[in-house]
């Protein structure tokens, strides 16, 4: 099971510090992708991603967990921080969207 955490940052000019803002959490297992969080709609489950090692197009339907691990290559612009962790115990949050792998 792959857990992907998306966040962004806002600059506070008074403190001259960045404040982390959670965006969404994506959990991928063999069968399904689940996206939850305040901006779950910012994360598209339908983006294909080029695997830089093989140059293959990888979609969610091809291999859900491999696709999730490649998500940092889809969000390169610096606005979103994308952190990947492999977690056997991760459970989808309540109030999430569910995307079957074969959709």
């Amino acid at each position: 099971m792959i857990q992907v955490r998306f966040s962004t940052s806002e600059f506070n000019p008074d403190t001259q510090e960045w404040v982390e803002v959670p965006v969404a959490e994506l959990i991928a297992d063999e069968e399904e992708v689940t996206i939850s969080g305040p901006h779950a709609d910012w994360i598209s489950p339908d983006i294909s991603i080029i695997d830089p090692e093989t140059t293959e197009h990888v979609t969610r339907a091809d291999n859900t967990e491999r696709w999730a691990q490649l998500l940092p290559f889809a969000y390169r612009d610096g606005e979103l921080t994308v952190e990947i962790s492999e977690s056997a115990g991760a459970r989808p949050a309540d109030g999430a969207f569910h995307y079957p792998a074969a959709a």
């Binding site: 001259q16 983006i47 080029i50 612009d77 921080t81």
Partner: protein
């Protein structure tokens, strides 16, 4: 660096517009945001003195395997990011209002592309259904041979579209296409026929021996490919299809 002359050409051309002067002259304010997807790129999120938020992508931070997969080099993504803005600025409205401004500027001793944060959010497909925004964006993406235009690479604020992330653009024939969602939408909606202002923009580009600055800003083979695409679009009277590089 073997693209020194292209970098010099882009650097010499930038700074004429007020937003460009701000992005070039304002001091950076405070530290960069803590992270930006370690391992994929070395992009830093920064604030300028006036509060503008910008993203700095250093030449040294390009993910080489990913760039090579797209047919780019270890140096071209930041150059292409800035060159795309230079072309949009030269084409004028509506394209200079669509593309996020991007300068070449040093930060912390690293040369790189400095892009202005665009208003809005990612992931919204509304612009693919809105001809006001989809048509000019698709024209631009087809012209620059954008290789990865998916909904994460634009911003929509409910009334305005901004195009971001042009590192993987100015592709050559046969190179990989991942997404071209706006070009695909324009064709899907039977709206590929060029508009009068698009014909005029291609004419200006092709009539200028310097290709509106692109002849010096891109590697020669990529500048030639840009001219070839412009000629094909002009000749056919249509926006090229996705992947027609």
């Amino acid at each position: 660096m073997d693209i020194d002359s292209q970098i010099a050409a882009v650097t010499a051309a930038q700074g004429a517009m007020p937003i460009e002067r701000r992005m070039l002259d304002e001091a950076f304010c405070g530290p960069p945001a803590p992270t930006s997807t370690p391992g994929v790129n070395a992009t830093k999120r920064l604030a300028l003195a006036s509060g503008l938020v910008v993203f700095h992508k250093p030449f040294s931070g390009v993910h080489v395997a990913n760039a090579l997969a797209y047919g780019q080099t270890h140096e071209t993504p930041p150059l292409h990011e800035a060159a795309a803005w230079r072309l949009a600025a030269k084409l004028g409205p509506p394209w200079d209002e669509l593309v996020a401004p991007c300068m070449l500027r040093e930060y912390a001793g690293e040369d790189g592309a400095l892009s202005l944060r665009a208003p809005g959010w990612p992931g919204d497909v509304a612009p693919t259904l809105n001809p006001t925004w989809c048509l000019p964006a698709a024209f631009f993406d087809a012209l620059i041979a954008q290789q990865d235009r998916h909904p994460g690479n634009w911003r929509w604020d409910g009334s305005r579209l901004s195009l971001i992330d042009h590192g993987y653009a100015f592709a050559l024939s046969g190179q990989i296409l991942n997404h071209s969602d706006l070009v695909a939408a324009r064709h899907r909606h039977h709206a590929a026929t060029l508009l009068p202002q698009e014909h005029e923009a291609l004419e200006r580009l092709l009539d200028d021996p310097g290709l509106l600055g692109m002849a010096n800003s891109l590697l020669p083979v990529r500048a030639q490919a840009l001219a070839d695409r412009a000629r094909r679009m002009s000749g056919q009277g249509k926006v090229l299809r996705p992947g027609e590089f």
